[in-house]
């Protein structure tokens, strides 16, 4: 039992119309003042529910059915709403994921901080204001005095998260629950915020409960960690020990799935099954003559000419400028230059990784190549011939089939109202790749087999699948067009690590099997490391560096790339110990 926080045998139930759902099951935790304890797990592990249970805000109709939470020796679950309300803020504070939504956009920073301070103390306005300025300075905001009167939108994402942390500190809490505090931030800012959290824990003796899915973050700053899965505690202990020498199978598998920066692996090993095993009738359902073998043969029939030398895709001096819309007026609005002078080559059968933080223009680059965005200048060549840009590219242009794309968000990239058969069948129908409906069915079933889905999936709708399965379906849709060139725009950033590892394995296999050339876009350096042969780095629409992947990760030449690499949380710390 920790001196600050002790959770024993905590169980939370949610009654649903399908029966009672156990969100977390018999969790034990303990935390000392000044300690940072990590809760790590994939989606559905119940990590946020634990945070909500401690702060007394389990969303209705959930309830604590068993167990106890003790804060500084005081038992929490029995408290009245009123007493709990006093306690929240005074002793426990919370930091949320998205700094955009956790501050009121219509109030100044001063209003929000001073109000919170005065709510919990008898300070007069001036005293509370001085305290607020001091807090802002403590959390690393420069010119705190003069920035007090500003509104949240005038702060950048990282600065805003600092304000949120200052707000959490207003009442001098003993425990701060940070729910994915850096997930919405870029790496560089993430590093600063983690630094701040570590300093606060050390200087003020605040206990932090850090909830995250990111093992890198856990490795960087936590003292101890609990690994959760499906609401159950898998393993707990000192961070270095749990992550460095995992004892539980799940932790081992999880660690194996985390992409490493240090070396490129051929495949991720030791992967967990992501889904509960399907009932056998599901697997036995087959379309006549459909198999992954047939899919392979059929896909290889596509007449790809490998003869041409030189790059498959080559982009020269690409500029993209966006104009903001101006309502009720003629002419163009303000120009934003999303890409400036980008030149790059993708060679046959190779993977080019594009690295960039948010706003670097990496998605715009993908859209310019597929013709969704009209570049203002530059050339794009595909297999040696120039591609018409933007709308000028005819709907029947042959490149429409040869270039396919896999999107970031598997929840919006599949049409929820269509069956999987129709979704995957659409490219076959449109590009006239099958002789008749029967062959089309056979191809759809076979390709599903190829991407590791049961053939019966073709009868279902997208909402019946998990994120990872949807991404497999999206990949199948891109594959059936028999593309020569695949653009993957952050294909795994919406997925859990173990699923990410599976999807990356699938992409690697497909790439090796069909000799695809891939443009692989990601903000995650470790993922790019695992996938690419060549690497380019984008920053604010400019190309910073372009190099062979091994050389890049060993010796980045550009200062920005070096900083990016240094700030990416890595597991080095652990591997050393």
């Amino acid at each position: 039992m920790g001196a600050l926080l002790g959770v024993t045998d905590l169980t939370v139930h949610y009654p649903t119309r399908f029966g009672i759902f156990t969100a977390i099951d018999g969790i034990n935790l303990s935390l000392e003042p000044g300690q940072i304890h990590g809760l790590v797990g994939e989606s559905g592990a119940g990590k946020s529910t634990i945070g909500a249970a401690i702060i007394g805000l389990i969303p209705s109709p959930g309830y604590i059915s068993r167990g106890d939470i003790k804060l500084l020796g005081q038992s929490l679950p029995g408290l009245s709403q009123k007493a709990y309300h006093k306690l929240r803020g005074a002793k426990i504070s919370m930091i949320f994921q998205d700094p955009q939504t956790s501050l009121n956009p219509l109030l100044t920073i001063e209003d929000q901080l001073v109000e919170t301070i005065r709510q919990h103390s008898d300070d007069n306005y001036q005293k509370a204001r001085d305290k607020a300025v001091a807090l802002l300075e403590e959390t690393g905001i420069e010119n705190a005095e003069s920035r007090m009167g500003e509104y949240p939108h005038q702060f950048s994402g990282g600065m805003r998260q600092r304000v949120v942390i200052a707000l959490a500190l207003c009442t001098d809490p003993d425990l701060i629950i940070a729910d994915e505090p850096t997930t919405a931030l870029d790496v560089a800012i993430q590093a600063q915020i983690l630094d701040l959290i570590r300093r606060l824990a050390h200087d003020r003796g605040v206990g932090f409960l850090l909830i995250t899915h990111d093992i890198g973050v856990i490795a960087e700053i936590t003292d101890s960690v609990s690994v959760l899965r499906g609401g159950k505690l898998m393993e707990e202990g000192k961070t270095a020990q749990v992550l460095g020498h995992p004892r539980h199978d799940y932790t081992k598998a999880l660690m194996a799935a985390v992409p490493r920066l240090e070396e490129k692996l051929d495949r991720f090993a030791n992967i967990l099954g992501d889904e509960p095993s399907l009932p056998t009738p599901e697997l036995l359902w087959k379309v006549d003559g459909a198999s992954d073998q047939f899919a392979t043969e059929w896909l290889l029939q596509g007449n790809r000419h490998t003869a041409s030398e030189g790059p498959v895709l080559s982009v020269r001096d690409l500029d993209v400028t966006f104009y903001t819309d101006r309502q009720f007026s003629l002419g163009k609005g303000n120009a934003v230059r999303a890409l400036q002078g980008i030149s790059l080559d993708v060679h046959p059968g190779q993977v080019l990784g594009v690295i960039g933080e948010s706003g670097s223009g990496k998605s715009t680059l993908a859209k310019a190549i597929v013709g969704l965005v009209r570049p203002s200048a530059g050339r794009i060549e595909f297999n040696g011939s120039e591609l018409p840009l933007g709308r000028e590219r005819a709907r029947t242009h042959p490149s429409r089939r040869k270039i396919q794309m896999v999107f970031q968000d598997p929840y919006s990239s599949l049409n929820n109202r269509r069956k999987i058969e129709d979704i995957i069948g659409e490219p076959i129908r449109f590009f006239d790749l099958a002789r008749d409906k029967r062959e089309q069915r056979r191809i759809v079933a076979s390709v599903l087999d190829l991407v590791g889905m049961p053939q019966r999936a073709m009868l279902k709708f997208p909402h019946q699948f998990s994120g990872g399965q949807r991404q497999r379906i999206a990949i199948a849709r891109a594959l059936v067009a028999r593309p020569e060139f695949l653009i993957c725009d952050e294909p795994t950033s919406a997925l859990d690590v173990s699923i990410q590892a599976q999807i990356l394995n699938l992409l690697k296999d497909l790439q090796a099997q069909f000799g695809l050339s891939i443009l692989f876009i990601s903000h995650n350096l470790a993922v790019v490391r695992q996938m690419s042969d060549q690497v380019v780095v984008l920053k604010s629409g400019r190309l910073m560096e372009s190099d062979n992947s091994d050389d890049f990760f060993a010796r980045p030449s550009d200062a920005y790339s070096r900083r990016l690499l240094a700030e990416t949380p890595s597991l080095d710390l652990l591997l050393g110990t």
């Binding site: 119309r17 399908f18 859209k367 597929v370 013709g371 969704l372 005819a394 709907r395 029947t396 242009h397 429409r400 089939r401 270039i403 396919q404 794309m405 999107f407 970031q408 968000d409 919006s412 990239s413 599949l414 049409n415 929820n416 109202r417 269509r418 659409e426 490219p427 449109f430 590009f431 999206a474 849709r477 067009a481």
Partner: protein, 305 residues
Amino acid sequence: MLTWWRRIRLENELIYLFLRSPVAQVAAAIATLSVLGALFAPLVAPTNPYDLASFDILDSFVPPAWVDQGDPRFLIGTDDQGRDLLSSILYGARLSLLVGLSSVAFAAILGTGLGLAAGYFGGRLDTIVMRIADVQLSLPAILTALLVDGVARGILPREQHDDLLLVVLTVAIGLSLWVNFARTARASTFVERNKEYVQAAEIMGLHPLRIMAVAILPNILGPLMVIGTVDLAVAILLEATLSFLGVGVPPNQPSLGTLIRIGTEYIFSGEWWIVIFPSMTLIVMIVSVNILGDFFRAVLNPRLR
């Protein structure tokens, strides 16, 4: 079969919530009853009010059967022409529903088509369509109806007037309702068009019409269904208003509005049943359809849940 029903009951949001909402059930029952009554009016109604030979002017102003001087032949009395009121209401509701449904269908097709195109293509088309919609909104429905009616009377030969009155009414009401559909369809399309599944279709080079019809339309149907139900009530009411004012259905085919108009002339002379029963029918129909519309909105719009 039973297990199938049990599964559907749990998994289908709409059915699940419907089975737990007595208000929605009552509303649905009444709405279904009015639709059935209207649909089978010729079978259910005691007499045919459109058939001049079937009623007698001597039977006029007979009060409801349970009142003194009531006649058991006429359950809720007769009107000034001696027509059986119950039959008139059944036939009138039939006409009201017919005009209501067809004008909503007209508005839905016109509005959804324009809104979908405006939302999908954006730019100049969007501006033009939406400005037209703004102008349309500033015209009261009755004015639109009078305008369409007047124009139709001007162009068409006299003998076709009565035959085409229903079409004119449908167009007139439809024209004043399409804006709702257009705005909703446009707003939903804006959201959908930026989703990646639409981009995937665009990258392939699918025809815009196919993208709109196959990809986007099924995804925006939810809110449009809500508008459709709510607008059905509005359309029935508009038809009643127009008929009440005398620019609606032909006089020899009384709709609920016509009956109410006739009734108001006699309300102060003691013949209350002529106005009360058609009005009650109208109110009950409108309220039940409105409740159903609200129920759909609550179920289909996750933000209201």
